[in-house]
Symmetry: C2
């Protein structure tokens, strides 16, 4: 269950849930910015008031790395916790998933569960402790998925751990928790929702994915687009079209921020079983190779290209490239985003969706392409190299692609407008 | 997971799943009509070919009773099965859920788990055996829910067992399994989908339900309409509007029958957490008090009002009654079903949706009201009396109602056209 009503005393709800889970020793994970804000405050007050033993870990790194994951894992191993609560955006929830996983498998090496080919992709055999995810951004959908993403610093590429066992036990989706998001955080996390919806909607259909596993137990978490993920993708896209600009421009627009918070959940349920493809696959080296870019609205000491931004910057080029494989879906997406497609020919679907996205991003004052976050043409080979290991997602692209195609996609994304 | 791809050798899939569940002694439940048809045949062939031990129970009653549930339960208790497979419509799947439940609780009295106030509504403490549901009608959504409905013969009213523990482990949604449905079975089961969608879409909103339980663990299975159930209800309704007539008129229209099969799943996920209200609450005595009505297309020896028919006959009266509580939703439903509502005032929402439904049902050659299935005005007191114990669902009506209101609703449903 990933949706629940907000009872009047919403801070109490976590307590009830913790007690129902038999919690005696709680690990609360968050980051240093959030630890000063109400979403964490209400949980702490509630735990303290009712005498529930807990420890707080506030050293989660925004855009986590293998090193920051390992630090959180060490904390979890030493704490012998019986329930985890993650209050934050995708970075916090993903870090908490990893901490819970490795604390439940104390004998495992770090690479054991990391996705192949970078890691060993071993099956998870232990039962993890319950994890309550309280998202404070409207983007990641991490509260709905079995995925934890991190930046593998040696390789300068993002990778992750993907397994249903990582899915949070409960997601507490309270729109009031997102009112604290700075404008650019709301924008960038909204772009993640946009791309989750667009990529899962255009992903290779489930019945064209190959090889078909000989036993259903071997089916991957990301199964390709299917009738259920389509429902979520379309619905999330409609909410993004209607509310994202309002949510970015006015932090006090509760209707818009609430709607985007739900859109994040909905897109999460969709891509969590359909998968994403090229925008996400190419985003990992864009984030991982960051040199000096500082992101507005992010209170961090290191250079970052925020995840949602790293994903959306290639979206016009990507959908222009994939459109011919399923032009109707690309046109439908353009229509949902506000373009009149009634007289557009199928052959023009890619151009039209790309133009629609450029216009949408321009309105939201998005940086003008990869060049504006510090990349030049000379960086393209390393960006391509960092995309190759992301086969887990890129193989869900509806159109097969070569290294030359990836090179062209990065080149076409240097400037957007 | 309630959706899965159909691999080319679809009969093999059940086998793989059974083997993954460690099945050594399988209970296959179905009814006497289906036992002669391909959906059962492919499962049996596969079990036989691979030497998996099984027993078949084909005495499921269409529109089951407490007596027929108990017979299936006895069979299950004696068989000591480790996995259940239900191949059939809602009657089969519901019977199999009950058999699995009581075989897992051999010490329990039959009334222990039946919904209060008729039964004791006790919590389910044992872990049930895995159950694979293979629906062969497109209506019940039973493969997605934790509900099992039966006719309590002494009381002449339907009641049931509702608990998340009853949810099937896996639903095998193969549209080819519905091609065998006779036309009237396709129509009646489609009406069940229609009402699942309409009732859950107009149910009391989750945040207006009272009393709000002090602990989330005490929340009922039926929580009222909410942003997630709304997505499913709207989507299912759109499919019904587009495909139900085609699916009824041409059993060979694979696109229409496939779409209705998915609509059944989607509406099931929606009402399975939002709930249904008056049409379903009033349907139970309509079905339970049946005297002599024989339903076309049903190969049974006893009089029945098929469930979907018993539900839909009151729908024009019900939605005319509830519309004032949420006229926008009633108008949106009328619009999805094909009526131009652009110039309709909110005050007319009930009349317009009722007229839309009457026209829809007329096109589908539905019997002309309760009078055409054997009821007269003299029966109304007993129909009202049989509705009172259905509080579990009727309390989700957006509009509070008295016995006089119920009397008026039954009276208004005697004739439709």
């Amino acid at each position: 269950m990933f949706y629940r009503c907000r009872c009047p005393a919403h801070s109490q709800c976590v307590l009830c849930d913790l007690q129902n889970m038999g919690a005696r020793n709680v690990c609360l994970m968050t980051d240093r910015t959030l630890s000063q804000l109400p979403p964490v405050g209400v949980v702490l007050d509630s735990l303290t008031k009712h005498g529930v033993k807990y420890k707080i870990y506030e050293d989660v790194r925004v855009e986590p790395t293998d090193k920051s994951f390992k630090a959180a894992i060490d904390f979890a191993k030493q704490g012998h916790f019986d329930v985890y609560v993650a209050v934050g955006g995708g970075s916090v929830i993903d870090t908490c998933k990893a901490a819970n996983l490795y604390a439940s498998h104390p004998e495992a090496e770090f690479l054991d569960f990391v996705n192949a080919p970078i890691g060993k992709g071993k099956p998870i055999t232990a039962t993890l402790k319950p994890l309550i995810a309280v998202p404070t951004t409207a983007g990641t959908g991490s509260e709905t998925t079995g995925v934890a993403i991190f930046d593998f610093e040696n390789l300068k590429a993002k990778t992750g751990i993907a397994n249903r066992a990582l899915k949070p036990t409960l997601g507490m989706v309270d729109p009031l928790h997102t009112l604290h998001m700075p404008s650019r955080v709301a924008a960038n996390s909204g772009f993640d929702v946009l791309c989750h919806a667009l990529e899962s909607f255009t992903a290779l259909p489930y019945n064209l994915r190959s090889p078909c596993p000989s036993n259903p137990i071997n089916r991957p978490a990301y199964q390709g687009s299917n009738p259920i993920s389509d429902v979520w993708a379309r619905h999330a896209l409609k909410i993004v079209a209607k509310y994202l600009k309002r949510a970015v421009r006015d932090a006090g627009d509760v209707e818009a921020r609430s709607s985007m918070h739900l859109a994040s959940v909905f897109a999460g349920i969709g891509f969590g079983n359909a998968g994403v493809h090229l925008c996400h696959g190419m985003s990992y080296p864009i984030a991982g190779n960051v040199k000096t870019h500082r992101a507005k609205g992010y209170n961090v000491e290191h250079p970052i290209v925020p995840h949602g931004l790293s994903v959306v910057l290639t979206s016009p080029a990507v959908f222009a490239f994939t459109a011919n494989m399923c032009p109707e879906r690309h046109l439908e997406a353009a229509q949902i985003l506000g373009t009149d497609v009634s007289s557009i020919k199928k052959d023009d679907a890619g151009r039209v969706l790309a133009d629609t996205l450029r216009s949408f991003l321009y309105d939201l004052e998005v940086e003008d392409g990869l060049s504006s976050v510090g990349y030049t043409k000379e960086d393209i080979p390393s960006l391509v190299k960092g995309t190759i290991p992301q086969e887990r997602v890129t193989k869900l692209s509806p159109r097969a692609h070569t290294e030359e195609d990836l090179t062209a996609l990065f080149a076409a994304s240097m400037k957007l407008y």
